[in-house]
Amino acid sequence: MFEVLQIGFFWLLQQMWRALPLFVTLAMMLVAMAPMNLMQGVVLGPDLALIAIFFWAIHGPEFLPPWAVFVVGLAQDFATGSPIGFWAVMYLFAYGFTLSQRVFFRGRTGVGVWLGFAIIAVLVAAGSWVLGTFVYARWLPPGELFGQGAVSVIFYPLLARVLLLLRRVLTTAPETL
């Protein structure tokens, strides 16, 4: 009986360890929601969840599987008061698209990956605008979406560094594909 409990406990611990990228992504989202007003209302803050999703899709999709991306999307929907499923759809699209283009990042340097993220950010902004227009059934100003995308691109190298440290803690697998 004790052995079963011990195995169960270690299995749970292992799963929690593997889910660390998910917890870190959720924590980043909470930090981004703190009422700091660093951008002074001029532009929205960076989409930290998108940055994390892109990073893990490139550097280790096994650490952030589709169900985890779904959870992050739902959390974003609940956190921002968006229609339920909206960000889950957009993040799963970004994740799937990044995975499909993963081969192009083979041996790329940091700048190459950064440009790749810029393309994903633009696609997600455009996709969100189209989906949002359908969901809200009205014309939506696209400026803020693309503004947030641009801010996310600026913040990407900094946050990618932090996530890279986490990846090194989780695995010793090579960082390049």
């Binding site: 909470l30 009422p35 007003n37 589709p66 008061g81 499923g85 979406l145």
Partner: protein, 323 residues
Amino acid sequence: MAWNRNRRRSSSGSWAVLAQNPALVIFFLIALILLVIGRGQEALFDDARGAANDVSSVFMEVLSVPASEVNRWIAGLGSLFSTYDENQKLRQENAKLRAAQSELAELQRKVQRYEGLLKIPTDAPVTAVAARVIADTKGPFVRTVLINAGRAQDVLKGQAVVDDRGLLGRVIATGNRSSRVLLVTDLNSRIPVLIEGVNLKAILVGDNSQRPVLEYLPSGSRIVAGARVVTTSDGAAFPPGIAVGIVGKGETSPRVKLFTNEGRADFVRILKYRAPVDVDEAPSGTEPADKGDGKAKPASSQPAGTLPQTNAVYAQPGRPPAL
């Protein structure tokens, strides 16, 4: 070479990713289904949203403390260079206000006397609950903030939220210890307002910009830039006279420059207002049971499917509410 290229495409192309990740397709479809269901039946997720707000509010209360300190530092840094000018401006303003104070007291006495003489019914008393903004959850389409007061403090959906400068928004979802506030600038915000001076009524419509638009003004009406805009009790939603902003200058459509600064809202008050509306007593046995959950039940005399009067202002036919 061409054969290799084809092989590579088939093993790692877009469709291959979907074939290799059935979970991705399944979760994408689940998310789409949730989106479609949520669009038609938004009320389905109300309780879940309330519970999620309560959970996140525990963390956000902790995070909001260093965040407000950071805000204070930033504000302090900004004012460091303009302290002298600001001081001069405040001195002038103080002198003006002192002069206006005695005039105001005299006017108040006069108004009270006239009200007594004319037997004008006094405004319904407005009590308030103080709360703190613990999360700034603005997104590309949604302008909301989270506050740390909920059903436990008798906060209900639809109540007005103000800060020290004026109207900030209204409560749209309540958890046990937290509530979500839809800001005046949100796409779905509709506030009945009055333009002082010309006494024109309008609806203040948010469009995600910093300056909401004044709509449904009577045709041919003329409004002056700089006129004050306040709430009205139309629709029995808000107490009358809450300061909202001033009519902006040089706009193609009439827009309002808000008194509040959404990003700087820290402490707020939730106004508990009950409009003095005479309602005929319902026949015995048909009285709706109010569980105190903020969900208004239609009176028996009200046709089925119509909204209760308190929500009438916000009803947008053919369009689901924001949350």
